[in-house]
């Protein structure tokens, strides 16, 4: 059996077949309807995708800040909290007045 010859014959047979270029009825209308449907869907996809991305990035930032606050070394407690410091600053002039002769 001459395989090279068979190969040639079969390729010639394939070449002899003219491809059918028939287009189904109203095919372009179907394509245009699909495109229109996609364009409508794309608007929603745009917004939902944006909102999901924003939500995901907020969640990531929250998690990172949580990790950072857990990892940071705790400062030594001096016993003074913010309210105490505020009060001392506000009443500093009064305290000075009391000590003055």
């Amino acid at each position: 059996m001459n395989h090279a010859e068979l190969h040639k014959k079969l390729i010639a047979a394939a070449r002899a077949q003219a491809p059918d270029d028939r287009v189904p009825y109203a095919f372009e209308k179907r394509v245009m309807a699909q495109i229109a449907a996609r364009a409508g869907a794309d608007q929603w996809v745009f917004w939902t995708r944006g909102l999901w991305r924003a939500a995901a990035s907020c969640a990531i930032i929250a998690v990172l800040l949580g990790i950072i606050s857990l990892c940071l070394p705790k400062t030594a407690d001096t016993g003074n909290d913010l309210s105490q410091d505020f009060e001392n600053t506000l009443l500093a002039s009064v305290d000075q007045g009391e000590t003055m002769p």
Partner: protein, 191 residues
């Protein structure tokens, strides 16, 4: 007045999607003819062509107008057909037992006298379709473009996005694959 292709494309890019319809009308026969070379069932062919047009619409921004729109579209068509072949690889697993009587007769004629087996016979066309279906997706694409459509290696590289050396390697392998398939058919029937 009929608008030129460039005007239609510009209008689509500016948001007038209805300007895409004349392009679909004009080039669908060409896209269908190409898709019918790779798929058999009409429903699959329509799916391929529809996908080509949807891709073309969504990627129209990437068309720079340096080459004709038809070339850009045919590249997309060939790549979509290749994706289709890759997605339907499992269909190739069947054996050659389904070779019909006319195909067997044609092969017998060929064995007796190669010149007496006409290449325009329906049996030969059916047989080559079956052989092509058994090839792997890259082999089928290369045989189709290089041997059946008689395109150059450079053209195939442009159509498929493969490099020229890769096309050559795949063409070499494809011929080997086809030889093996032909050997298998003839071994089953005539040895």
């Amino acid at each position: 007045m009929e608008r030129s292709e460039a005007e239609l494309i510009a209008a689509v890019l500016q948001g007038d999607s209805t300007s895409f319809e004349p392009l679909v009308q004009k080039y669908s026969p060409r896209v269908f003819a190409t898709a019918r070379r790779y798929a058999r069932r009409e429903s699959e062919i329509e799916d391929i062509v529809q996908e080509v047009w949807l891709k073309a619409f969504s990627k129209l921004k990437t068309f720079r107008g340096e080459a004709p729109f038809e070339h850009w579209l045919m590249r997309m068509t060939v790549r979509t057909c290749y994706d289709f072949l890759r997605g339907h690889q499992r269909n190739r697993e069947s054996s050659f037992s389904e070779i019909s009587e006319p195909e067997e007769d044609w092969l017998e004629k060929f064995v007796a006298d190669p010149a007496s087996a006409p290449e325009d016979a329906d049996a030969a066309k059916l047989l080559i379709d079956k052989v092509l279906e058994k090839l792997s997706p890259p082999a089928r694409l290369v045989i189709q473009l290089l041997e059946i459509e008689d395109r150059s290696v450079k053209e195939i590289a442009e159509l498929t996005g493969w490099s020229v050396p890769l096309v050559k390697v795949r063409a070499f392998r494809a011929r080997g694959e086809m030889r093996k398939i032909l050997a298998r058919i003839t071994q089953d029937k005539y040895l």
